[in-house]
Symmetry: C2
Subunit: 359 residues, 2 copies
């Protein structure tokens, strides 16, 4: 599969694709400055919940590489500074906080060892996360493809591909896997206003993968369902709570309601790092508000009267009762989600114990 | 009320606002060429089902004014040519065909009279239609305002105001009337992709009317309903069939499904000229397909990869079971719509009989 490398570690630097320039320009940025990476996350040059996590992890490594001393106080100050730098980029994606936390632990685990060793450990952890993400994409693609109806005609929203993850994607990995397995008939892509991740990014990726698709405006989704043009909806997620509520790109909730009305299954694909085991319901998820100008301007051009007030939540919450299943790399979760999540945690725990014993 | 004159008859010419230039430029076009009017309808410089009807009527007058002879054959040829010119502009709006038909009858009624008299009759008919449309807007505003819930927070789609009618609008007239009557709390406007009639036109009009509103992307509608930010949806219509099915700007159907799911009333506001008494169900309505490029380009800028295929129906069909009521200038129609339509026809008939008797 022709997979785009949205982010890479290259000889002490992070190289990433500036996604705000797509689809017209394919511009890569190479940097050893963690602030540049943080700003790229903020501006959506790097986006997609899993990819944000990987970017933050590499950003930690960049910061760490500047350390001159392994004095305990310096290390702690460095961890806190990096944590705050990356935590403040975007509030909704669970993977971001999961990745930050994991980097903190990795470094704390080897505190007191020589500086070079600590730096190597930090990089190894970030690279492991990146590699795991690739494997996660493959597993989700496989598990999800099995769930699709015959001759699947998939409706998807936003971008969940190589540009959103460290591998082939979440929802999009299911689409690509189904295509390889001759199970996919067609894909309908919501353009995904305001930032057009569907028309700019997903259309660009599916063209590269040579998967047949049709672009629609977000408000055409109901019509294509009514006309029987799609038989399944598959989307990604930015945060999933213990009860199975899903935060994802704004518009997802409307699709879920429409899918319900038309009796079409609505699937969410996400790695377990998207699950926030500390939140019991979607009501607790902080919803990032974007600037009015993302709605009232497009490509620098004013498309509404100046000074118009726009309400621009980046995400919405889909309640669990509209979700047919959550496809993770570790298995397919179904209602009642709370129980499924608990089983998932136990499974994780037992595999960790196994690892510890048989290491 | 500060009402924009989207179209006017001015000393033998039609003057119209080029709506494709809004909101950044307010450009008026004055012409005595019916082909310019037809092209303006096609390109959406003149749009909105009722306004299209009025524009076509004035277009007929422009064409008629060029006639040099009242010879029967010439008149018939002229009628057929004008009919075909305007019928081929846009396929979905019922008002267009209603207006064309009415102009044909008006002229046929006075066939054989001196040419100047016939020309005067044609103009009088077009002006009568324009005036009736103004009154229709007022009546719909009044009837609709009475239906709104207390402290109404209305969600609307596309543009249904002075830019879509010969008066204050359909759905928007309800909004404006409710505002004057202190019954309106707030308006949420869908931007209405792909041509942004919400953000370009409705936002521009509500600003002029000083009515408080917030602009949202179409895909945010579900979220604002879920959060209780709107308590009623009011939209216009391009064609309504005998069973109460409604063709309106694409996205309307999705809003109707969302409104149903949230228990929010969904109202359609339209003049009786929008009702197609010859069609029994929405399945028969021809849906205009717009060019892919209206989705893949914006303001001349490519926003998707070149050559991407987009599906761009201009309208969708909302089935009658999702419609709480249809607000016409002659009364409020409710389910079962078929019966309500028959009563409406009888009422019309009896008033026509009365007129004939007491003339």
């Amino acid at each position: 599969m022709n997979t785009v490398r949205a982010i890479e570690w290259r000889e002490g630097k992070v190289r990433f694709l500036d996604q705000t320039r797509l689809p017209l320009e394919e511009v890569y940025v190479e940097t050893d400055d963690e602030a540049v990476v943080a700003q790229a996350i903020k501006s959506l040059a790097i986006r997609g919940a899993p990819l944000i996590g990987i970017a933050a992890a590499y950003g930690f490594v960049l910061a760490f590489n500047k350390l001159q001393s392994n004095d305990g106080r310096t290390i702690v100050a460095w961890i806190e500074k990096s944590t705050s730098l990356f935590s403040s980029t975007r509030p909704t994606a669970a993977n971001l906080f999961w990745a930050i936390n994991r980097m903190r632990h990795a470094v704390i685990d080897v505190a007191g060892t020589p500086l070079d060793e600590m730096k190597a450990r930090a990089l190894a952890e970030a690279q492991a996360m990146h590699k795991e993400d690739e494997e996660m994409c493959r597993a989700i693609g496989q598990l999800g493809s099995e769930l699709l109806p015959p001759a699947a005609s998939v409706l998807t929203h936003c971008n969940t591909g190589s540009l959103a993850t460290g591998g082939t994607g979440t929802a999009q990995s299911i689409i690509a896997t189904a295509w390889e397995q001759l199970k996919l008939r067609h894909v309908y892509i919501d353009e995904t206003r305001p930032l057009l991740q569907g028309s700019r990014l997903t259309a660009w990726e599916l063209e590269k993968l040579q998967i047949p698709f049709t672009l629609i405006t977000d408000n055409t989704a109901g019509f294509v369902m009514q006309r029987g043009m799609v038989n399944v909806v598959v989307v990604g997620a930015d945060r999933i709570t213990l009860n199975g509520d899903v935060a994802n790109k704004v518009g997802t909730y409307g699709l879920a309601v429409l899918a319900k009305y038309h009796g079409i299954p609505f699937y969410v694909a996400a790695p377990t790092s998207t699950i926030d085991f500390e939140m019991t319901s979607g009501k607790e998820i902080p919803i990032e508000q974007r600037s009015s100008s993302e709605v009232t301007q497009l490509a620098g051009r004013q498309i509404a009267p100046p000074d118009v007030d726009a309400y621009a939540p980046a995400f919405d919450i889909t309640p669990n009762e509209l979700v047919a299943a959550i496809i993770t790399e570790k298995g397919v979760l179904r209602s009642p989600f709370r129980m499924a999540m608990e089983m998932l945690m136990k499974k994780d725990l037992s595999s960790m114990v196994r690892k510890a014993v048989f290491r």
